[in-house]
Structures are given as structure tokens and as C-alpha cells.
Symmetry: C2
Subunit: 329 residues, 2 copies
Amino acid sequence: MLNIKDIAKLAGVSPATVSRVINNSANVNEEKRQRVLEVLEQTGYKPNSLARGLLYNKTFTLGVVVPDISNINFSEFVKGIEIEARQNNYNIILMTSGNEPEREVECFEILKEKRVDGIIFAGTILTDRHKLHIDNSTIPFVVFGQDFEYKSLISINIDNIKASYDAVKYLYSKGIKKIAMITGPLWDKAAGYDRYTGFLKASIENGINQRDLIYKEGDFTISSGYEAMKKILKEERVEAVFAANDFMALGAIKYLLDNDVKVPQDIKVVGFDDNPIAKIYTPSLSTVKIDFYRAGVLSVNAIISCINGIEVENKMLLEYEIIERQSSI
Amino acid sequence: MLNIKDIAKLAGVSPATVSRVINNSANVNEEKRQRVLEVLEQTGYKPNSLARGLLYNKTFTLGVVVPDISNINFSEFVKGIEIEARQNNYNIILMTSGNEPEREVECFEILKEKRVDGIIFAGTILTDRHKLHIDNSTIPFVVFGQDFEYKSLISINIDNIKASYDAVKYLYSKGIKKIAMITGPLWDKAAGYDRYTGFLKASIENGINQRDLIYKEGDFTISSGYEAMKKILKEERVEAVFAANDFMALGAIKYLLDNDVKVPQDIKVVGFDDNPIAKIYTPSLSTVKIDFYRAGVLSVNAIISCINGIEVENKMLLEYEIIERQSSI
DNA sequence: TTAAAATATGAAAAGCTTTTCAAGGAGAGT
DNA sequence: ACTCTCCTTGAAAAGCTTTTCATATTTTAA
């Protein structure tokens, strides 16, 4: 591949002059300028960004670490990141961690070696090794998705408690008295415990005794939603079900339909996430929509500000929206 | 950020020695080795990959250009790429093109500047500008998804004609006589025209006169499937419908159910893609499954071979699988 | 004990771009 | 005609790592 010296030779000027033409950084005799431009055009020369990066100590590259890119939430997130990054002249190195802390830390190490200008990290927990890395690192970090209340780390989060609270309140506002919840695993702080907490809060506010709360724990899969719904119906007569994600909500609906319970006439169902399936399913599923694309855009803006030394809020909450569809009308 | 000179100073040795310790490239006095290792540990030093890349003219980075990462097919594809690449010590720079040729070419330019070792490209058409780029480029290219019969370009493809042919044959094998197709836009060679061609071939083979073929053109959306189904039923009495993708198939099913036509008892439906929704929908949808994850893995293997100067087949076809579910039993 | 071989180590160059600094040339003003 | 300015231009250094080459030291063999 050609370098700037080759171009200089072909155009009969010095490398410095070629550089000046490429970067429009100083006056160059018009005739020479044309000669250089012509050579550039003919050869398709592109300056070596490694050399540039070495010089400026800057790569215009962001590292992005997500658990699983094939999860629609994260692919929306990454889409937002990529598009916003590009708009700001940055590229992204994408890495997946499979939610394994070991691999996450490994990603950080590789990204450090690649000298990325910043890292956007969607993870689950912050182990000591994570913290060690973040502390020792001069690379700006933005953490998404779990409330990492660690030092002044920039984090962008979903207010799971409030979103869940609002979803349940929405059901109560329809005059419903008895609502059950299908939760995620409660050890999962964000999507598990926090969403349960919102349900708890809204229920108590509507005069339910904490001991009378009706809920079953699932694991975010369709089949666990199906099973949970079965258990709930065996024990109680409820008018609505709120599930901690859409898959479990769909499982619940499936069980209800299989057993000739009408949705929404007999029992209303609300999910969480606004998975694309929610809109398509029959009946279409009411849900809480989180805008992951926007989360990506915000992450990029935050990290670029940070890179440029501009102060940013270090705790941001994402908006959400309760979407009413057939399953709860 | 520290550099190798700093480490050398801290350990009281020369940069060369530090380099030898890091790369295990030559014998180093054990005592000094330990001193260096200790400093490396304490400082968390990572060598600057830009400098290395500059020296070796190699970045261990692959460029990946896809139309839209939030499309499940492409996110599976990218997942396969990322995981396989990492296993081979490569990272990926992900770029999205929105299927715009202009932006695709722009991606190539940026990736060239970043000196990626290879580019994996999922696109639609190969314009002259694309070709110019590929011709002038010394960077290995792997093209996925459309049959780019261009020179010795490495391409990985779906055999749309044969997959579609097999799907229709499968329906005929159930003793069905009258099958309609909902095609994609026919100007779209791969997912549009080729899938139609397979349908045509299988139909003729089963004694249908080409003039009697029943098909309507959709645009891959649910609603277009719904409308196409409406038109088909108005004109003909069919026993089965084959759609060029799952969304249109689901639209068709929706129309049928809305009009009290039972699926699969009255009309069987088969889609294409194995979108996650296909499995979940009621009735679950029979479809043609393409393994995009595997396509990603194959792409990486091909490009790494190419980078290392190993000969590879330059035309590969992906396997597919007809998945039978409730909608066609 | 001495020559030869093996081992260990640092200096320096290469890889590519940008920017600073110095110098050369041209034009303007006196 | 001479000096001062402004405009152009090229040489060189910096940024960081690896590897080669040469040197210094130690070990082995005779």
C-alpha cells in the first residue's frame, strides 16, 4: 500500500506538502496543489490512521461491550451507538461478553491495547476486577443498564422501579382490584428485583397488604411465563397479570388462551420491553417500551463529551413509555 | 498513559528487554525478567497496538459492513463474526450502511484508512463504485448475501432458488394441488426474484402451467402479506400459501384467521427466514431456516485464510433447513 | 589458561504521518 | 537598489514498538 512519501514523489513535492494538501492546513501553491490532488485521486491514497493515531494519541474509535448482540435490545442499543458515533466521526469496535465477568474484563484489556478513546459498557455486575480496571484506566467509561453507583462513573439507566410502578398503576387505574405479577429472578437486581419492587409499591399504594401480594418467579423465558400463569390460576382468581418481560407475558397469554380464558376480557396482561413480537402477536401485547436506540445515542454523546473534557451529568435515566395494546384494553 | 520506555526505566532495563519479556521472544536474565514482570503487573501496562500495527502493517481488526444491525438476521451474522473473530485474535469494527450504496462505499474508505486486515460486506448490489474500490484495494473482501459473480471475489450465499424450490416441493409432497406464493419485490434479485423462481420451478415440475401460477407481490411487511392474502382469496381457491419471508406469512395467517379460515386445516402456510416470531406465534409457522450465525463464522474463516494467503473456495453456499411447525401440519 | 562459543543486553532503525522550524524566494515600500 | 514582509517549501523530530546488529559477559572446551 502506498504511503505519503510515494505520493510526494509522484507529485514531485515533499511529504509535508502532501500532508498540507490533504488536511488543508496551510497555503500551498495552486499548481502543486492540483498536482497532488490528481495523484491522490489516481492512487486512491488514504492516510494511515495508525500513524495519525500514534501522533495524536487519539483513534476516533470507541469500544462497545454488550452481553449479546443478537438480543434485540442490545442490537438497537448498538445501532444507536454506531449511527451517532459515525455522525461524530467515530467508529466502534464491537465486543460481546456473553455476560461473563471474566470476558468483560478481557474486553477492557483488549480495548485498552487498541487505544480506543472511550468504552461503552453494558454489563450486569461490577466485580472488584472491573473496578480495578476502571480505576487504573484513563479511558472514559460509560456504563449502561445496571445502576453502578461507583464513584463518578457515568451511567445511563432504566428506572425499573418507577417504570414497573407506573405499569401496575396503569392497570389499577382501569378499576382492576387483583393483579398478579410474574417476576424475573429476584437476584437480578435491575430486571428482576427492581421491577418487583415497583409492583410492590403500586400494590401497597392501592391498599393491598404486602402479605397478600400475588407473584411467581420466572426466568424470562416463554415457558416460565406459561408455568407461572398456571400456578397463579391454580391459587388465585386474578383480573390482570403484569410480567417482568414480554416473553413471560406471552407465555402467560398462551396458557390463558389454551385454557379458554379470554385476554383481555377475562384477564388483562401487560409485559415489559416492547419486543417486536408484542405488536405482532394476537392479541397484541401492552407493554413498557424502553428506547434502547436512544440509550445508545445518549451513551455516545456522554462519552464524546467526556473525551473532549466537557462536564456531563454522570447519572442519567432513560425515559420509558407505557404502550397500550389489545391485551389490556 | 505509560509507554515501554517508562516501564524500562522503572525496571532499570532497556525498552528492548521489556519487549522481549512481553513477547517471550528471547532469553532474558531471570532476575531482570521478574523485575519487568512486576512493573508490568503494577502499572497495568499494555503495549500500544497502533505502534505494533504500524510496524507489522497488520491490525488484527476486521471491518464488518451490514445494512442494519437491528435486523435479527444481521445481528446473528455479526454475532457469529465477532465470536469467531475473537477466537482467532481479531476484533471487528462494525459499520451500518442502511443499504445505501453511497454509504457502503464510504464505509470501505473509512475501513481502508483504519487499515483493517479484511472486510466482510453484506450488501445488495455491486455498483461501479463498489467495484472500483474492490479492484483498487489490496484488502481482502468477503461478500455475503447476494450472488456477486464478480471476478474472484469471495462470496457466501444462500441458494434462494433451491431453498424456495424445496419449500414448495415440501408442500406438494403433502398432496396439495394448488399453492399460491406471496413474493417479495421482484426487482430484488435474491429474496425477491430468486425465491419466486424456486416456486416457479417446483410448480412446473408438479404439472402446473406457468400461465396458471398464482402469486402476488408484497414488500416483506406484515401488512403487505395481509393484503396479498386478501387478493389471492378473492381470485382463487388455494390450499397452501408460501411467502418469501416470515412477516408476510404472518400477515397472511392473520388475514385467514380474521376471516375464519383455519390454519393449517383449510390452508397451510410456509414462510422464509425462521424469524424468532415464527416459533412463538399461534399457530407456529413452518419456515425455511437460514443459519446466519454460521454464515458469520464461515465469513471469518474465509477472510482469515485469505489474509494468511491460504487458498479458499471463492463461492460458498449456505445450508438451510425446512422447519415444519403447526401452520403446515 | 586461552580460544571459542553461547548468552544477555542496549542502541538504533523502521514503520507513517503531522507539525515546527528554518530558509528560500518574491513582492512591496522607501 | 535595498530592506522588510509575506508566502512557500522541505528537513527533521515526535509518537511507540519490535528487531537487528553489535557489544559485552559468561560458559565451555581444549
